[in-house]
Symmetry: C3
Amino acid sequence: MEAVITDLFYWVSIALMICIHAGFLAYEVGASRSKNVLAAAMKNLLTFSVVCATFFFFGWWFYNAFYQFPVGAIDTATAALPWSDDMGPNNSSVTGIFWGAFALFAATTGSILSGAVLERIRTSAFLILTTVLGSVVWIIGAAWAWHGSGWLLTEWGWHDFGAAGCVHLIAGAFTLGVLINLGPRIGRFVDGKAITIPPHNLPLTMLGLMLIFVGFFGFLMGCVVYTNTGYFSIFGNQTTLSAVAFSTLMGLAGGILGAYVSSKGEPFWTISGGLAGVISVAPGMDLYHPALAFIIAVAGGLLIPYFGKAIEKFGIDDVVGAVAVHGGCAAFGIVVSGFVLWGYPNVAGYPDINPLGQIGGFVVLALLGFLPGYVLSLALKKAKMLRIPAAVELAGLDLSEVPATPYPEGIPVTILKSDTEVTA
Amino acid sequence: MEAVITDLFYWVSIALMICIHAGFLAYEVGASRSKNVLAAAMKNLLTFSVVCATFFFFGWWFYNAFYQFPVGAIDTATAALPWSDDMGPNNSSVTGIFWGAFALFAATTGSILSGAVLERIRTSAFLILTTVLGSVVWIIGAAWAWHGSGWLLTEWGWHDFGAAGCVHLIAGAFTLGVLINLGPRIGRFVDGKAITIPPHNLPLTMLGLMLIFVGFFGFLMGCVVYTNTGYFSIFGNQTTLSAVAFSTLMGLAGGILGAYVSSKGEPFWTISGGLAGVISVAPGMDLYHPALAFIIAVAGGLLIPYFGKAIEKFGIDDVVGAVAVHGGCAAFGIVVSGFVLWGYPNVAGYPDINPLGQIGGFVVLALLGFLPGYVLSLALKKAKMLRIPAAVELAGLDLSEVPATPYPEGIPVTILKSDTEVTA
Amino acid sequence: MEAVITDLFYWVSIALMICIHAGFLAYEVGASRSKNVLAAAMKNLLTFSVVCATFFFFGWWFYNAFYQFPVGAIDTATAALPWSDDMGPNNSSVTGIFWGAFALFAATTGSILSGAVLERIRTSAFLILTTVLGSVVWIIGAAWAWHGSGWLLTEWGWHDFGAAGCVHLIAGAFTLGVLINLGPRIGRFVDGKAITIPPHNLPLTMLGLMLIFVGFFGFLMGCVVYTNTGYFSIFGNQTTLSAVAFSTLMGLAGGILGAYVSSKGEPFWTISGGLAGVISVAPGMDLYHPALAFIIAVAGGLLIPYFGKAIEKFGIDDVVGAVAVHGGCAAFGIVVSGFVLWGYPNVAGYPDINPLGQIGGFVVLALLGFLPGYVLSLALKKAKMLRIPAAVELAGLDLSEVPATPYPEGIPVTILKSDTEVTA
């Protein structure tokens, strides 16, 4: 019966995570200017599709092959090769459901990148970058830092319940590397001064984020190991969904409140505070007391507008604040967890959780994310494949890339029956 | 294994209930005029955050301390104090998951209020009111009327499977109390004549309601007690999710059809009929035959436009019809259940379900909701803290409260590639 | 405990399927022109309500009575009559939860029709058609082709895990029959040349489709039989949710990529490719290898723009491509499955899966869908009850049918606080 409920458990996790992608579509479409709306939506759809497919054909294998450093388990990873029996409709296997949950994590990393680079990246370059991030880079990070035998755990005592390191930090760092080479949108910086380019439909963006919050509950289910006798983190310590529910809700609440205060009520930062809060508490959300989770989340929320300003100072244009929210809060949360959880015992005689292990892991994963993003986007830039021509950018991507138009009538004033009766 | 599945059960309940809040955001944003869109969204986010946090720090304690009348179990409620072991990440406890489901109920009461008072309330006053409603008033009502040892059950034979009394009725009555002191929006009544102020984006409001319907399935999971051997209502009688599925779907269908007929196809009332139907059948949805649930739901749906008109007659401006839908249908459903379920036995020798008990409970809960809402908002009014200045209201709240703008370009007519080719 | 988890399993399935209807509302509203927005939304709400209610009163009985050909089990179907004990809140029964899942399938067939006939059908005619489709026609198809003792299985070896035949094919064929008699919207064909009438809000339509994808995970849960010892298809062969997760995600990914290529990046076809992919693999998604599912899904996605063009060639106006996507891909998927799964053994000595059985089943179900749709809509046309008058169509349905207006202000340019400060 354990396999039966395991199948159900991660199936629900996957279904809820599809909400993340529904949410990202609304979020990115809303965050674009009206001239780039459909190009944003198409990028989003392609991210999901390309990452899903490549994650089947080679991504999943990395997780199973690379958990020792630098490699070393390649021979035992044959069950994750696409032609393995386990990777088919095997009646006794739950591989597909684990693969599915990981594939949705992979697609999430791709979507984190996709929002930041909106409105000026070439689709072809983007698809190369998103495939490398979603089906190679992050999953190597997951093998190292989010695996019951990953070397960061076995050697350094690393703990990261909610995948802050391998998903959010790696995606944020990779994105930062890409943004440096991609450059800002035309008009984003004028005479060295940052000019805000507002979303064309902020309510749609906010609805998108709320759907991402729904999806978070699927994501966090994907962070526990279900057994009939209890829940365990990926790192082997016992936990409960109760503990995770406490931290998640207090994380959402604290992050929103923190960001509300420090952004002085700016809606985009405030709602992003919900992400910030959950990401900030993610490393220890199986272990934190709810009040502590709340405090850490408030701090994470408070920080993001400053992270955003700091990135802007370097002339970097991150359309949705992905580096600040995902990268910044993951870094903050990981470092904090090292001190707060200092001395908490790991299983199987692995080193206790400790600040040096957490900070070391942070550095390793930040580099693992940043370097491929930077190098690959630099190569694409040199090959003049990274960015669309300025004329296309000014006219809007939809006009040259997409054989359709989002609002052919605009949203006009519509007339009420009784109005016409009065007129008549 | 029971604790494991219990954790899973309410986790899914919580995840689905997040859809309620995604839905409320879309619903309230759509229901505002375009000048108040972001202020509405911010209120929504703050409701969720403030209620969640305060419900941890003191709300949950009320439920555990106040189920006898007026108090009497304070000594046994220590496990619900924020520093209790049970309120932390305890590996054997499912407290967090129960707390989480209740916290989402609490946030729902706050969101019921938040829609009704749109476009003219001060944020600070609103946050005080929503905290009192979400983390004090309704949860005292839940202790009395939605607890296995609540005094309304043990003394009067009260039955209210789906929390119509403690959530919908209390929130509706509290809202009514606030609306009386808050007063209508400028222009809503001219020379004593009611003028409809239409939502700026009715499709968005309708999508929001559909997401709330999704969330209802989480809410109703939160109304059963899971055990490995069967489901029970909060009141201890056995039931099944099958029974609840029948009533919920027939409630949605019946309510929509009823409201469609009586509103002559008005979309806002028609889709609100789905809420009306489910709320009307909520008290007995574990016990009603589906055909009976359908009939009660049709009646509930039929009634709401009349409830709305009645409230309007008193010069009260309820932006989203919250008092009519939540308060009105809960009252209707509770009274009906007293007659329909008359004589159905309660557990443990408590009095049978009976009309007097249901009507008495209705009166108690209506007062429990109305009085604090009225008194507190009156005090805020006297202190000139309740309502924004008329000039701000006329200019729109976004302009003075929110450092952002929802539609900086409007939604303009966008051009299709082939159109430009034709032109060129 | 099996009944307890069974209840939970299909409850979650139902909750997720409500997302399909939230999605369809956004999808159809977006696909309309701004003058028909609310009429589209109302049709959607009424579909859900009318089908749910009638499916209780008679629809479910057909499934239980008609699985032999042409009838023959009417005497054993008494448990599905509305006054049966099983159709009430029976504490030992899981009937309600099965009924609920089927009722949501039924509502889905109605919604497939509803998108195609937008912007010119009479509401009364539509409600008759949708009731016949949702509570009679498709469920007879389900009795024949999606039942453990259905005659297509027992006689011909039919296999159709994901209800491609009874839901998608029947709904698509019925819709085709209706569209022939309904005729195209005014202006859709000018001098025999097809003119595209674009959606007024394509981003909203795309968000709607994403929500439908979320709902698909509920739909596919409704396609397995849960037992504590393992999952089975409706046809009795063992399977796992792992197998279905593989096929579903590879189906979504493949379909989107296929449609992207063949539509040259047209957003509506591309995102519809997700539907196309899942429907194309649906008949064998319990048995296909994920790589095979991917290939079939790519093919299904590639085909839909061609299906769409072919239908257009006949002067048929299908607003949302329902016939192409649902009908076309179901036909394609069923035929393909006959060859790919040729020889796979069925349970209980029923014939093996074979191409003739699958093609024969396709013909039977296509006719079962097409004929009632065609005949009934012809009768309604003759009675002049099918289509709204041309003047109403030109002015927009909202103006004559709906006492409300979707965008009373349009979506205007909104002003930012700092803009006014600069101006002042």
